[in-house]
C-alpha cells in the first residue's frame, strides 16, 4: 500500500523572486536522499506531495526528519473537493486513532486556499467538528489545548491529516554555497557543521590525523561522526590530512608557548588551500569564545588573520550545555565522547599563550617555513565519501 506525505516548507516562503531556486534545490535534495526508494515527488502550490510504498515508511521518515528546508511532514489523505468525500475521509482517518486518543480532546484546523470553495474556513471546521463528535461521541472539543488536531487544507485538492512530525527547518542544503568544516572528533565541530548545513551550506570536511600520536581508532571516530552528520547534509566528503610531519616541525619551534596556535594556523592554511582546490568559499570551525586558550579573541584573531577565506564560527556565542543539547539531538554526542583521546598533549605547551599578539605569531609562523610540508600533506590526503 502507498502512503502520501504532505511536506511543508518553512523559511522558503519568505523568499521572493528566487523562491523557485530554493524549491528546486529542496526537491533535488529529497530525491537524492530517497535514491533507491521508489517514490513520486511533486510540488503543488507551496506544498510538496510525496508518495512512497508503506514498506519504506521508517526509512523515508528518518530521511525527511533530517532534510533542511522542511518544517514538517505528515501522512495525509487527498480527496476531491466535495463535502461527502471529505466527511468520509475524515471519519476514516479519525477511526484509526487509538481508543485513548478518541476519548481525548481535539480541534479542527481548516485552511481554505481555494477561495472558490463555497464554505469559509470557520464553517468547514465547525461542520467537520460536528461530524467527528457525532461519529466518535467519547471525544470532546478543546480549541486551546487539544490532544490531537485534524487539519484540512482546501487547495487544488483537499489534504486531510492529523499528526505532523517536525522536520529541522532551515534552508535546503546547497542554496547557500559550499564550505569546508574542520572536523576534530570532539563535541563542537559536528554541531557547527549541522548549524551551517541548516543555513543551506553544502559542506565538505577536513580532519588532521597525527598518527601515531593519534590512534587509528580516533580517525575511525571522526569517520563515524562524519557518517552521522552526512544525512543532514545530503552526503559529505571527508578529507583526512596526514599531519605528523608538520607536527614534528611545530614541535621543533623556538616558541613552545605558541605551539598550539601555530598548529591551528597551519591547519587553517591547509584548509584554505583545500578550499581553493575544491571551490569551497568558507571555513567552518566549532570554536566557542574562550572555551580554551586557543579560542580567546586574541587567539582567534591570530588564526583568523592567517587565512584570507571567511571563517564561520556558528558556536561562537554558545555555552557548552547548549552545544551538547544539539549534539545529542543530532546523535553525534555519544560518538564524540568515546575515549579515543589523542596524545597530542605531548606537544601541548605547559603554559600556552592565552593573549597572543598577531605580529609575534606571524613571525614565528614564518620562521617555521612550512610551505612545502603543507602542500605535501594536502597531496597525501585520503578522501572518503560519507
Amino acid at each position: 500500500m502507498d502512503i502520501t506525505y504532505l511536506l511543508k516548507v518553512g523559511e522558503l516562503n519568505l523568499k521572493g523572486s528566487n523562491l523557485k531556486f530554493f524549491e528546486k534545490k529542496l526537491r533535488a535534495n529529497i530525491k537524492k536522499s530517497l535514491k533507491g526508494i521508489p517514490s513520486e515527488l511533486r510540488q503543488s502550490q507551496k506544498r510538496l506531495i510525496l508518495r512512497i510504498n508503506e514498506s519504506h515508511r521508517d526509512q523515508v521518515e528518518k530521511i525527511l526528519s533530517q532534510t533542511f528546508g522542511l518544517v514538517s511532514f505528515t501522512p495525509m489523505v487527498m480527496v476531491k473537493k466535495d463535502p461527502q468525500s471529505i466527511e468520509t475521509a475524515v471519519c476514516d482517518l479519525v477511526s484509526k486513532l487509538s481508543s485513548q486518543e478518541l476519548e481525548g480532546t481535539f480541534k479542527v484546523a481548516a485552511r481554505r486556499v481555494d477561495k472558490s470553495y463555497p464554505q469559509t474556513s470557520y464553517e468547514i471546521a465547525c461542520d467537520l467538528g460536528g461530524v467527528i463528535l457525532d461519529t466518535f461521541p467519547k471525544t470532546t472539543v478543546n480549541v486551546r489545548k487539544p490532544d490531537w488536531v485534524l487539519s484540512i487544507e482546501i487547495r487544488n485538492e483537499v489534504y486531510i491529516y492529523i499528526q505532523e512530525t517536525k522536520a529541522p527547518g532551515g534552508l535546503p542544503v546547497g542554496t547557500a554555497g559550499r564550505g569546508l568544516l574542520l572536523l576534530s572528533g570532539g563535541i563542537d565541530s559536528p554541531v557547527a557543521g549541522y548549524l551551517m548545513g541548516k543555513r543551506g551550506l553544502k559542506l565538505e570536511s577536513i580532519y588532521f590525523h597525527t598518527y601515531p600520536y593519534t590512534s587509528d581508532e580516533a580517525k575511525e571516530k571522526v569517520v563515524t561522526l562524519g557518517k552521522r552528520l552526512s544525512p543532514w547534509l545530503g552526503g559529505m566528503k571527508l578529507h583526512i590530512i596526514p599531519f605528523t610531519d608538520i607536527q614534528h616541525k611545530l614541535a621543533a619551534s623556538e616558541h613552545p608557548r605558541f605551539s598550539t596556535i601555530l598548529m591551528r594556523m597551519a591547519m587553517m592554511k591547509i584548509a584554505e588551500k583545500l578550499g581553493e582546490q575544491r571551490d569551497l568559499s568558507a571555513l567552518i570551525t566549532g570554536e566557542a569564545l574562550s572555551q580554551v586558550a586557543s579560542q580567546t579573541v586574541e587567539s582567534i584573531n591570530c588564526t583568523n588573520r592567517s587565512v584570507d577565506i571567511p571563517v564561520l564560527r556558528p558556536l561562537i556565542g554558545m555555552d557548552k550545555i547548549e552545544i551538547i543539547t544539539i549534539a545529542r539531538a543530532i546523535d553525534t554526542y555519544d560518538v564524540s565522547i568515546l575515549p579515543y583521546d589523542d596524545c597530542c598533549s605531548l606537544f601541548a605547551p605547559k603554559h600556552p599563550v592565552i593573549h597572543p599578539k598577531y605580529d609575534e605569531l606571524a613571525e614565528a609562523y614564518e620562521d617555521l617555513n612550512l610551505g612545502d610540508l603543507l602542500d605535501k600533506a594536502l597531496e597525501a590526503r585520503e578522501t572518503l565519501d560519507l
Binding site: P212, H248, A251, P256, D341, D342, C343, S345, L346
Partner: protein, 385 residues
C-alpha cells in the same frame, strides 16, 4: 619493516605451543563422547578427564578432588568471590590495591551486599605491605585475596609470610577460619608452585598464560563453594556444562611443559631482563619493576615524555608487540591501575610493560632496544630531548 614479528606481550597472552594445539585436535577426535553419558564413549571421555585432573593434581602437589576445570582464570576467581558475596551476614574482605580487574570488579557488588572491603597497599614495586595486612585483619575477616604475581610489575607477593600472618591471626581469634584465595594466573610457569604446601585455600589459573589453549583454566580449592550457575552437575555442581576434554588435556600438557622448563627459562629471562634494564636506562627510562626480584619475564618501565599508546602503536608498526600496561587518559594524564604504585602522573603517562616467554630470543631484545632508540628520536619533541 619486513622483519619477523617480535612478541613481547606474554603477560597478556602466550602463543599456544604447536604440540598443545595438535593435542586438542587429536583428543577431540579420539574422545567424542560426553563425559556425563553412561555408554562406553561417555565413560572413556570421563576416564580421560579424570586422568588429566589427576596428572594436574600431581604436578601441583594437591588432591585431584580439589581441582575444578573452568573457562579460565576469571571464572575461577569469580566462583570464589561470588561464594563469599552471597554470605548472609556482613563480612570483611581483605584484598590488595593491585588486584586484577576481575577481582576489583567485585568491589561495588560487595558493598551492595553490605560487606566491607579492606585494601592492603603495596610499595612502589607492587609488593604488599605485610604490616598493613596484619592491621587490617579483624574478627569479621572471612576472605583474604592476594594476587600471586602482579600482572603489571611482575612482583611476586610473599604468600608464605601472608599465610603466616593470617593463620596466626586465626589462632588469636579462637581458630575461626579465614579463607585465603590467590589469583595465580600470572604465577603459573613463572614461579615454583607447590600449591598443597602453600597453606592457602584456593587459587585460580588460566591456560593461555602458559602456552595452553584459551577458554580453559581451573580452580583449586578446598571445601565446598556455591555454584555460579545451575546445570548438569558437572565439576561437583560448581561449574555446570559439558567438559571440554580436548582443551583440558591440552592444558595439562602445557602445564607439564611449563613446570618442567620454568627454571631454565627463568635463568635465560633474567639475562634478558638485565640487558633490557641497561638498554632502557640508557634511553633515560625509569624502571618501575624491581630490577632483581619478581618474575624475570615481566618488566614495567616508563619512558617519558612519549605517551604509552604512542610507543605501543609505533612499535607495533615496526612489528614489535608490547603493552602499555594500563589504559591511558591523555586529557587527565592519569592511568588506572598504576596509581596504587604511587608513581607520578608524568611517569604513569608513559609506562610500558615488556613481557617475555619461552620463545623470546636475545635478538628480539636487541632489536627492541634498537627500535626504541630510533623511535625516541622521532617521537620526542626537541625541547623534551
Amino acid at each position: 619493516m619486513s622483519k619477523a614479528p617480535i612478541y613481547l606481550d606474554w603477560a597478556a597472552t602466550t602463543p599456544i605451543l604447536p604440540e598443545v594445539a595438535q593435542l586438542i585436535q587429536e583428543t577431540a577426535i579420539a574422545y567424542p563422547g560426553n563425559p556425563s553419558s553412561i555408554h562406553t564413549l561417555g565413560k572413556e571421555a570421563k576416564e580421560k578427564l579424570e586422568l588429566e585432573r589427576s596428572k594436574l593434581a600431581t604436578l601441583l602437589g594437591v588432591d585431584s578432588s580439589e581441582i575444578l576445570f573452568t573457562s579460565g582464570g576469571s571464572e575461577a576467581n569469580s566462583i570464589i568471590f561470588q561464594h563469599f558475596l552471597q554470605k548472609r551476614s556482613s563480612i570483611e574482605i581483605v584484598r590488595t590495591s593491585i588486584e586484577h580487574p576481575i577481582i576489583s570488579g567485585f568491589d561495588r557488588v560487595a558493598k551492595d551486599f553490605g560487606h566491607r572491603l579492606c585494601t592492603v597497599p603495596v610499595d612502589k614495586r607492587g609488593v604488599i605491605d605485610l604490616n598493613k595486612l596484619n592491621e587490617l585483619l579483624s574478627t569479621k575477616t572471612a576472605l583474604v585475596s592476594i594476587i600471586g604475581v602482579h600482572n603489571i610489575t611482575g612482583a611476586i607477593e610473599p604468600i608464605e609470610e601472608i599465610v603466616k600472618i593470617v593463620r596466626g591471626f586465626e589462632d588469636s581469634r579462637g581458630g575461626r577460619k579465614i579463607h585465603i584465595h590467590c589469583d595465580m594466573v600470572q604465577a603459573f610457569g613463572k614461579t615454583p608452585l607447590k600449591l598443597g604446601a602453600l597453606g592457602i585455600d584456593s587459587a585460580a589459573f588460566g591456560a593461555h598464560k602458559f602456552q595452553g589453549p584459551r577458554g580453559v583454566g581451573f580452580l583449586w580449592h578446598k571445601g565446598s563453594v556455591v555454584p555460579l550457575s545451575t546445570g548438569g552437575g558437572q565439576e561437583q555442581g560448581v561449574r555446570p556444562g559439558t567438559e571440554d576434554v580436548a582443551s583440558i588435556t591440552a592444558m595439562v600438557l602445557a602445564a607439564e611443559i611449563a613446570i618442567k622448563n620454568h627454571e631454565d627459562l627463568n635463568s635465560r629471562l633474567w639475562q634478558y631482563r638485565k640487558i633490557l634494564i641497561d638498554g632502557l636506562q640508557a634511553l633515560n627510562a625509569t624502571i618501575i619493576s624491581h630490577p632483581t626480584e619478581g618474575v624475570p619475564g615481566i618488566l614495567y618501565v616508563s619512558c617519558p615524555p612519549v605517551p604509552s599508546e604512542v610507543w605501543v602503536r609505533s612499535l607495533s608498526d615496526c612489528g614489535i608487540y608490547i603493552s602499555a600496561g594500563s589504559a591511558c587518559s591523555s586529557s587527565k594524564r592519569k592511568k588506572a591501575g598504576v596509581s596504587p604504585l604511587g608513581i607520578s602522573d608524568t611517569l604513569g603517562f608513559s609506562t610500558l610493560r615488556i613481557s617475555m616467554g619461552a620463545a623470546t630470543q636475545d635478538s628480539d631484545i636487541t632489536q627492541f632496544l634498537h627500535t626504541m632508540k630510533e623511535l625516541q628520536s622521532t617521537l620526542t619533541p626537541r625541547e623534551n630531548r
